[in-house]
């Protein structure tokens, strides 16, 4: 594989950039692989990459119904953070933060990781107390957290509404300075390119039709491009999890819901942090192109539509304008939607299943993008070693029956409620 560098850039400039190698191949599926990963999103690509890199398993295929990076990895709002209170979530996410920091060098691909910090705004004394508690928990787990008062927040984001007579005045906020954003497409492409170079077959336009299970063991998968045998199969399909689970006669603690995001027209640099509204569900950052990138609540009812509905968007942007009134002057450039695998406690599942050789990675709710490297790393470990790693031991499938829920937000089983 051609290494990307300033020298390769200059060299290719002389040939009008017409002789670059393809970033990944377009192979025909083989009859059999050691491991098949279903789902060519960020998590699936990362899983294949870490299977090859950490476990030396390279006879791997990624099967993708559409194209690489066309699902949620290309539809999210690119926020990366580890500001969690519970140990299982905090340690997993912070492990991921380390992988994010090294990712561009590791993948030889500029993922434009930008640790610009995230601020969660607080709008009452009670909320400040809750944030102080979460911040302390984070610091005990070695994650940077700073509790900001109103004046400190005003210094960082002066464009927010600090007037006196507002419904949700800003009391302060909790900041994780090391959080940030990254270029989401580059993450998918970087993982795909490296996985491909180590021998992984990335098979696009290949839909899973069924599974070959016998005697409680998985033997392979039936696809629109023929049958593929594999002793180990990893399911990594986010919002489509229930559709494939049905083919396996499994019912999971997952519901598929729709989340929208949107960007405004590009404007000059105004916001150099990620900011979230604390009295509702709204988050915002500014992309390198100058667009304000925004998102918030789910549409609120089961959906596989991959496109949104207006009432939720209006509701979310009302919150945005309450927080930063200047947003009302901006024109909307694009809105879009992606389908989320909402788990019943708001935390993900990375585990083995009752079928030998079948592994499950799902339930990422709104938070899948930031988890891409840690999810891939731990899922690869779970598949390669046939046992969960300490880091994903809290993300078990049976925690729902044993009562060991990871309800970070305390929303009960209706995590889609707004």
């Amino acid at each position: 594989m051609q290494k990307y560098s300033i020298f390769s850039l200059v060299k290719n400039a002389f040939s009008n950039h017409e002789t670059w190698d393809l970033a990944w191949k377009d192979p025909t599926p083989k009859k059999e692989y050691d491991v098949v990963i279903i789902g060519g999103g960020g998590h699936g690509l990362a899983t294949a990459y870490y299977l090859a890199k950490e476990h030396n398993i390279t006879n791997v295929a990624i099967i993708e119904k559409g194209w690489i990076g066309g699902g949620n990895v290309g539809r999210n709002t690119t926020i990366i953070r580890s500001n969690y209170m519970y140990d299982d979530n905090a340690l997993f996410s912070e492990f991921g933060m380390d992988l994010w920091r090294k990712m561009s060098q590791d993948l030889n691909y500029n993922v434009m990781f930008s640790p610009r910090g995230i601020i969660n705004l607080a709008h009452s004394d009670a909320q400040m107390n809750v944030y102080a508690r979460r911040g302390n928990s984070m610091r005990l787990n070695g994650i940077d957290a700073v509790l900001l008062n109103r004046e400190q927040v005003k210094e960082i984001i002066p464009m927010a509404d600090f007037s006196e007579n507002v419904r949700f005045p800003i009391f302060g906020g909790l900041m994780q300075p090391s959080a940030g954003t990254a270029r989401h497409d580059a993450v998918a492409w970087g993982y795909a390119r490296q996985a491909d170079s180590m021998g992984v077959d990335i098979i696009q336009n290949c839909e899973v039709i069924g599974f070959d299970v016998s005697g409680g063991k998985i033997n392979g998968v039936r696809t629109s491009r023929g049958d593929i045998k594999a002793k180990k199969i990893g399911l990594c399909v986010a919002g489509s999890t229930n559709i494939l689970a049905e083919k396996l006669n499994m019912t999971l603690p997952i519901e598929t819901h729709l989340l929208q995001a949107c960007v405004s027209e590009p404007v000059k640099p105004v916001l150099d942090r990620v900011v979230t509204f604390g009295a509702g569900h709204f988050y915002i950052s500014q992309s390198d192109k100058g667009e304000m990138v925004m998102g918030g609540d789910l549409d609120g009812y089961n959906s596989y539509a991959q496109r949104g509905n207006l009432p939720t968007l209006q509701h979310v942007l009302t919150e945005g304008i309450a927080m930063m009134p200047f947003l009302s002057k901006l024109k909307m450039l694009r809105t879009w939607g992606g389908i989320m695998d909402m788990s019943m406690d708001g935390s993900p599942i990375i585990d083995k299943t009752h079928i030998e050789g079948l592994y499950l990675n799902c339930g990422w709710c709104y938070g899948g993008f930031k988890a891409t490297p840690a999810s891939g790393w731990t899922f690869a470990h779970t598949i390669a070693q046939d046992r969960v790693h300490e880091l994903n031991s809290g993300y078990s499938l049976n925690r729902f029956s044993t009562g060991h829920l990871l309800d970070e937000k305390g929303l009960g089983t209706k995590t889609w409620i707004s």
Partner: protein
């Protein structure tokens, strides 16, 4: 914007309703022996169908009644609505 025909009030905008999830889920009967698996299925496990899906909605800013709605989860087309007391046929 969805338009939902409330069996009590007629066609109304989605804004008047709130969502209550899968209507096919049945609470295990009181006083009977119930396995852990039955409870799991009632509390947590969902089919989350793609296509026709019976679900509960509440006409919150209207008659405040819970209703059942048959909706396609990939096209949002609504086929049928029933009162909460009416059985899905």
């Amino acid at each position: 914007m969805l338009h939902i025909k409330c069996p009590h009030c007629g066609m109304r905008s989605q804004n008047e309703f709130s969502y209550g999830g899968d209507a096919s889920v049945k609470r295990p009967e009181l006083g009977k022996e119930i396995s852990d698996q039955d409870w799991d299925n009632f509390v947590y496990n969902r089919k989350s169908l793609r296509g026709k899906h019976w679900e509960l909605w509440q006409h919150l800013s209207g008659c405040r009644q819970w209703i059942k709605v048959e909706r396609d989860t990939s096209t949002h087309e609504i086929f049928n609505t029933l009162k909460a007391t009416e059985e899905i046929s």
